[in-house]
């Protein structure tokens, strides 16, 4: 269960429920991990092949010290790869979109020390647009969802999310329900006001 308090928002309302938590599509992080996989494959190849290559082609250098240097270089490379992979994972894992019954919350980790958190009330939504472009996004069904509010505010963007069409339908449905609830509350307030008079 998501802990909305950790996202540094004002208190969640009593009637508010989390509908969905969305991450970017797995292919988005896979593209960044290709270089990690290539580096890992090179490391594994080097671990098994370099000692034999040294003994075959550089026999004069074949001693314990040479192997220590080769393994040290490989170990350093592995450490750098691991830290780079961890940074990519952190960037992916901490980018989330939360859809609740009242609002949409966008948490974007834009860099190591740059984090943007914003929210948008469902009742303020004017337009929701979906964009899926390219061969791979079409086949894997991922893309962007743009949520436009009234006025000149910049639009909310769900970036590279899976099944954007379903997300768009969900937002539209929740937005209608939110508008109905706010109309009902307004009606109740007017009735209470007229009864008190």
């Amino acid at each position: 269960m998501i802990n909305l308090g950790k996202l540094h928002f004002r208190d969640i309302g009593k009637q508010e429920r989390v509908i969905r938590v969305i991450h970017r599509h797995w292919f988005d992080i896979f593209k960044q991990f290709i270089i990690i996989f290539a580096g890992t494959a090179f490391l594994v190849w080097g671990f098994f092949s370099l000692p034999d290559l040294i003994s075959d082609f550089l026999p004069k250098l074949e001693n314990t010290n040479t192997y220590a240097i080769v393994f040290f270089i490989e170990s350093t490379f592995a450490l750098i790869l691991w830290l780079y992979a961890s940074l990519i994972w952190i960037d992916y894992h901490l980018d989330i979109w939360v859809i609740t019954t009242e609002r949409i919350i966008n948490v974007e980790q834009k860099g190591v020390f740059v984090r943007q958190v914003s929210e948008l009330k469902l009742s303020k939504i004017q337009d929701v647009t979906t964009k899926v472009g390219g061969v791979i996004p079409t086949i894997l069904n991922y893309g962007n969802v743009y949520v436009q509010t009234a006025g000149q505010e910049t639009r909310f963007v769900f970036r590279h999310i899976p099944d954007p069409y379903h997300t768009k339908s969900e937002i539209m449905k929740l937005q209608k329900q939110a508008l109905q609830r706010s109309t009902q509350r307004l009606g109740e307030m007017v009735r209470e006001g007229s009864m008190n008079m």
Binding site: I2, K6, L7, F72, A78, L79, L87, H93, I96, Q109
Partner: protein, 90 residues
Amino acid sequence: MDIFKILYTVFFFICIAISVTIIFHIIRYSYNKAATVLMLIVFIVVTSTLLFANSVLFSSMKLEKVLPIDSINNLIDSKNQDDKPWKTPF
């Protein structure tokens, strides 16, 4: 060999700093407790293993056997002797 030790120490502390940053982000911003614990365990175990192995391998290397540091030092010393206007008696 001191210069290599200094360079390695700098590299080591940069790795520690990056690791601390990642751990900070996992603890502070992750919203799922189970995922947080799992990520922390995996990251700390793998990173500490890699750092330990790396430092052990560095200490086991004998760079003076590979790099001609002594001959370079001798060359620099002999050049400095030739440049002096007087010659030492010994």
